[in-house]
Amino acid sequence: MADEPDLATDRRLALDPTVLAGLDALPSGIAIWRPDRRLAYANETLRRTLGITPTAGELFEDFMGRLAHSREVVLADPDLWVREEIADFGIEKSADYILAAGLVMNVTQRPTRDGGLSATYSDVTAMKRNEQALREAKEAAEATDEAKSRFLRAANHDLRQPLASLKILIYSCIREADQDARAEMLHAMSVAALIMEDLLGALLQIGQLDAGRIKPRITSFQLSQLFERLDIPFRHQAEEKGLRLRFVTPRDTIATDRALLERILSNFVANAIRFTDVGGVLIGCRKEGKLLRIEVVDTGRGIKDADRERVFDEFYRVTDERRGEKTGLGLGLNIVKRLADLLELRVRLRSRPGHGSIFSVTVPFGNIWHSEGGDAEISEAVAGEFVGVPVLLVEDDDILRRSMTQLLQRWGIEVHAAATEDEALRLARGGTRVRLIVADYNLTSRTGVEVVRELRKAFGAETPAFIVTADAEPKVLEGIREAGLPVLIKPASPPRLRVLMHNLLFEPGQVRRPD
């Protein structure tokens, strides 16, 4: 290329070094083409941005051809693009291109006054990303806004209904003289208030979900524990409607958010009970490959095909054909859908109108070793050796009786405390059964030894027993020994008390007689 002028030499000849250095430091690439379409100047930034180096005096057509086939710029049809660029020489225009590296480059060209062309090549990636993010955010906001408006309109409607009834009822109630009619109205008012409370509770849940305030905490746990919890609130509801409610207890460990899954299942079960008049509700599981499908099966009214998709929409309620009225808030299944989306769980519905429905949620299995039990708060009160052992304590001193009761309860013992012999006997004759008797020696009426004897008669068994006494007189201790009862001198240290109780209950052969 000996006949072509050297660009650098040219620059040195034509321009001040400071100006050249300044042009090289600009963040955008610059290229200037002469009227004869040969490159007059290109700065350092252009070389770095494009990855191909323009040579001084290179023809515009040649450079565009090299650029198009360099694969540095993503072009649908490189040859077509080159033809268009050549045709557009000297025309003012601007376009964005995506570079192979993922950057977005803006190319803006303007004609020069002598018939040549000047072009800038600018990295606009960050700007474009911001623009896109803004656009997406705007679209999302508009969508949410629309959903919110729809939601609020529906919520407003549903809140107004009970509110309107409440107003009418209050008005009528003020004027009503008849007591029975007033009571009936008050009952209706409490129902209206309950509906509003439920609705507001559901709205709050949805609000929290929408605001992203609910963060799932995925853990491994036993599904059986969840079933046990669900059984408590729904057992009564089902019985009131004369429905059978059955949980088929699973043994599986699953991994999801325990509290949120409980809300999903609660909604399923509540709906099943609400929409079932005859038969029952069954909650069970089926394995589905590596997942577990939890199903709530009812023998209720079922859901028509047309409604199947919409039942998960907010405020959508299936009209009860027989009664021509809507029941429920129409939010439960919408909450389920939102929770399931949050937890990435699949929720399904199968139904046959008139026969019943199966709502299900599919969850992944958990790691059994990591399964969380209710273990964190273990203590002797819930897990010690004496847990649930019934003990009769006879002590006439109020303070001692109370402190001894507290100590024994800390060990999980079921304490039946009596202040007097009569009280103790009443307990014994009233059907209280104990495995151990602890009696004070100096009781108001008689000695503890005698009281133990009477109690054993009442129980009709040689119930293990021991005496506690503040009286360390040898004569007293001898009397207790003769009765064959072990004794502890007050104040009895907890470890000694524990050892004696253990031996009496579990290792009678180890009990040492007082001597």
Binding site: Q222, W369, S371, G373, I378, A383, E385, P495
Partner: protein
């Protein structure tokens, strides 16, 4: 010329005679090896440790409290470091709390939690370096459920029989097993029935258990000899079920008495020497010092407790004699704040319980808890096989020889195929 500082007296209450004398000898060995290693490295900030051993014989409250008093009053020990003593029911905590010294043991008792939490200020120095007995229960239930759910074993039913020894430890474990069973799909078909122990007569209760046709039988009594007789009597006419025997079946004595009848039984420990590089290196040092007959898996308990204490005392800037509450509180804080990887896994004290946290039943991170290790006897002449939990296991479960191979096709249990429809990769 440097003046040698007086040694730091460290007490150790150990059953050197009586029914646990074999373990006691190992606890003593562990202390000796730890102190020798520590002293060879300069002791505690230039002062050597001096161990003082007191025999706790049958480990009754009187014997253990007496030992603690003697160590504090006569020897002015800065700490009492032990293996375990069964029986004092925490009564030894009183003289120790009065003196304000450090006490580290492996008594494996739930009541430690209650005692410490009842007055954390008073019992600041009392540490249990292994998890409480309670954790055996849920740990065992998870273990058998894991065998079942991963298809390593197909139980004949969901029936579980529990026989309990009459010591508090055995009762607590039996009850916690029973409490956890239902959540994992097990139904209690027998017990927990408390048997008066010690005993070598098990035939009657084995027959009672047989009548309930269980898929698993667990015996929570823990004396090696008694358990060996249980297993021999069981094997006279075995029931088609898994057999789990508490702690004592880990001992050499068990296999020596039970011989071939021992093959296939499961045993576990919430504290046991690991078979990794760290554990093997310790075992080699231990055997080199005390002979091949020594049992490093028992001796490691007092060994680790002593090392851990020494590190904590160094961090605290020194140990404290009886009455030096301030200094000992610093040592206690260091013990509580440190995650210490011993030769038998991690000792990390729970901030409230001051007891080691078990893995995997409480913490799911093996670096933060002491492994509850499950063993199976594969060959009665060889060391037990460590079959769970990951990442510490070195072998796999095999179907015990007395059990039928359901499905009619004999297959090695360790590579058993999962039941249809059950996932096999839940670990």
């Amino acid at each position: 010329m440097s003046v040698e500082l007086p040694p730091i007296p460290i007490g150790s209450m150990i059953p050197l005679t009586g029914p646990s004398a074999a373990d006691g000898a190992e606890f003593r060995n562990g202390m000796i090896l730890a102190v020798e290693e520590l002293n060879a490295q300069g002791g505690l900030l230039g002062r050597k440790f001096q161990p003082i051993f007191v025999d706790t014989c049958r480990q009754t409250a009187e014997e253990v409290v007496g030992a603690a008093r003697m160590l504090i009053e006569k020897h002015r020990v800065h700490a009492i470091i032990c293996g375990y003593n069964i029986g004092p029911q925490n009564s030894e905590y009183e003289p120790i709390a009065d003196a304000g010294i450090i006490y580290v043991h492996a008594n494996t008792l739930l009541q430690h939690h209650d005692t410490v939490m009842s007055d954390p200020e008073r019992y600041f120095g009392c540490f249990m370096a292994d998890p409480a007995d309670y954790w055996y229960g849920p740990g065992f239930i998870k273990f058998i459920s894991w065998l079942r759910d991963t298809g390593q074993w197909t139980p004949s039913s969901d029936r579980l029989a529990i026989i309990a020894g009459s010591k508090p430890y055995s009762i607590v474990i039996a009850q916690s097993m029973a409490a956890a069973a239902a959540d994992y799909g097990w139904r209690l078909c027998f017990g927990p029935k408390i048997v008066q122990t010690p005993t070598t007569q098990w035939r009657e209760i084995i027959e009672e258990v047989r009548a309930t046709n269980p898929a698993v039988v667990a015996n929570t009594h823990f004396y090696a000899g008694d358990l060996a007789y249980f297993q021999r009597q069981f094997m006279d006419n075995p029931i088609d079920c898994l057999v789990y025997l508490q702690y004592g079946a880990m001992h050499r004595t068990f296999a020596d008495i039970a011989q071939e009848a021992s093959v296939g039984i499961i045993v576990s420990s919430v504290i046991g020497l690991l078979r990794d590089e760290v554990g093997k290196s310790f075992e080699a040092r231990y055997n080199a010092r005390f002979g091949e007959g020594a049992s490093a898996t028992i001796g490691c308990q007092s060994y680790s407790n002593m090392h851990h204490y020494a590190v904590a005392a160094a961090m605290a800037g020194g140990s404290g004699a009886p009455g030096h509450f301030e200094q000992n509180r610093k040592v206690a804080r260091a013990l509580k704040g440190m995650i210490y990887r011993s030769v038998h896994g991690t000792i990390r004290y729970h901030p409230d319980w001051q007891a080691a946290v078990p893995y995997p039943v409480v913490t799911h991170d093996p670096s933060l808890g002491m492994p509850h290790i499950f063993y199976q006897i594969h060959d009665h002449r060889k060391p037990l096989s460590m079959i769970a939990p990951e990442p510490y296991n070195t072998e796999r479960f095999i179907l015990p020889p007395w059990m039928s191979r359901r499905g009619g096709v004999p297959r090695p249990a360790a590579v058993s195929s999962p039941r249809p429809g059950r996932p096999t990769d839940r670990m």
